[in-house]
């Protein structure tokens, strides 16, 4: 037990001392807050290679109906409010029923609940694998969309739902 403790102390020292020699060191001495608490900052540097789009850039696409929004959150979250006209597609659900509709759109914008965009990235990667060319993930996700007054289910983007969604 004592030696296990010593090993942990030595390991911690190794990790903290060695951190500076890694390509992207952890910011020792700084504060690291959850990605979702950063004002839209997380998601901006995609580690997944999926392109991003800001809420400001996405809003006009919603209003002009030139993009289909894909909601990657849970069914409950989707039903309690989503981007106007958005289709619901959480990770792990079949994309086939939606493909025709998504292919018809010039652009597809995926968003999820948390600003780290992990779920949206997964959905976006699957859509890309299906051959959709312009798939982007919404920076700041749903909280940012709400905070910046993006049109919600009953918002100003009613034209998008005119096709009988």
């Amino acid at each position: 037990m004592l030696r296990a403790g010593l090993l942990c102390v030595a390991g911690s020292a190794l990790g903290i001392a060695g951190n500076a020699f890694t390509p992207r060191p952890a910011p020792l001495g700084g504060r690291v807050v959850p990605g979702a608490d950063l004002p839209g900052a997380a998601c901006e540097e995609p580690r997944s290679g999926i392109a991003r789009i800001s809420v400001e850039a996405a809003k006009p696409l919603c209003l002009a109906c030139t993009a289909v929004f894909v909601d990657a959150r849970s069914a409950d979250e989707y039903s309690s409010g989503h981007v106007t006209g958005a289709v619901h597609l959480p990770p792990g659900e079949a994309v086939e029923p939606l493909l025709a509709r998504l292919r018809a759109a010039p652009a597809v914008i995926v968003y999820d609940r948390d600003r780290d965009c992990a779920a949206a990235d997964r959905v976006a990667a699957r859509l890309q694998a299906e051959g959709l060319r312009d798939v982007r993930v919404l920076t700041g996700a749903w909280p940012e969309w709400l905070a910046r007054g993006g049109p919600g289910e009953s918002g100003a983007c009613g034209a998008c739902t005119a096709d009988g969604r």
């Binding site: 296990a4 090993l7 390509p23 807050v33 959850p34």
Partner: protein, 145 residues
């Protein structure tokens, strides 16, 4: 437990932790972010804990693979896994949607991750118990001669 099975478990556990540590080394900043996303540790402590975890993983992995100080390493790993399971369980039960930060990929945290960690924990406990027994047997033999 037969000796070869014990050695295989020990080395496999060590290899998994070596992989876990090496896959996180290229992006420690990203791992610190993953740790922060669990919303347990204070923001100031996060980068230190992230760096320390990787150091312990690395050292414990080398010990498990080489067999030098294997028992303390197995105990340390068991402690780490217990903490991982606690972090994961609270995050999942609070409905946080996050990357698990397990092997430096974008893998999402899920109950499957908890099951996997629990299986590794069982392995670590077996190694800790049986390596200890073997050590005691060896020490007994040595004291008798």
């Amino acid at each position: 437990m037969t000796r070869w099975l014990l050695v295989a478990t020990r080395v496999a556990l060590g290899a998994l932790f070596l992989w876990a540590a090496l896959s996180k080394l290229p992006d420690m900043e990203g791992f610190a972010q993953d740790v922060a996303n669990y919303r347990i540790l204070p923001a100031l402590l996060v980068p230190y804990v992230a760096a320390a975890v990787i150091g312990i993983e690395l050292l414990a992995a080398l010990a498990l693979i080489s067999g030098v100080m294997a028992r303390p390493a197995a105990l340390a790993v068991a402690g780490l896994l217990t903490a991982f399971i606690a972090f994961l369980a609270q995050a999942l039960s609070r409905g946080l949607d996050l990357r698990c930060g397990c092997f430096g990929s974008d893998e999402l945290a899920s109950w499957w991750t908890v099951v996997r960690d629990a299986a590794m924990l069982a392995g670590a406990l077996v190694v800790a118990r049986d390596s200890g027994q073997r050590q005691r047997v060896l020490e007994d033999e040595r004291s008798r001669t």
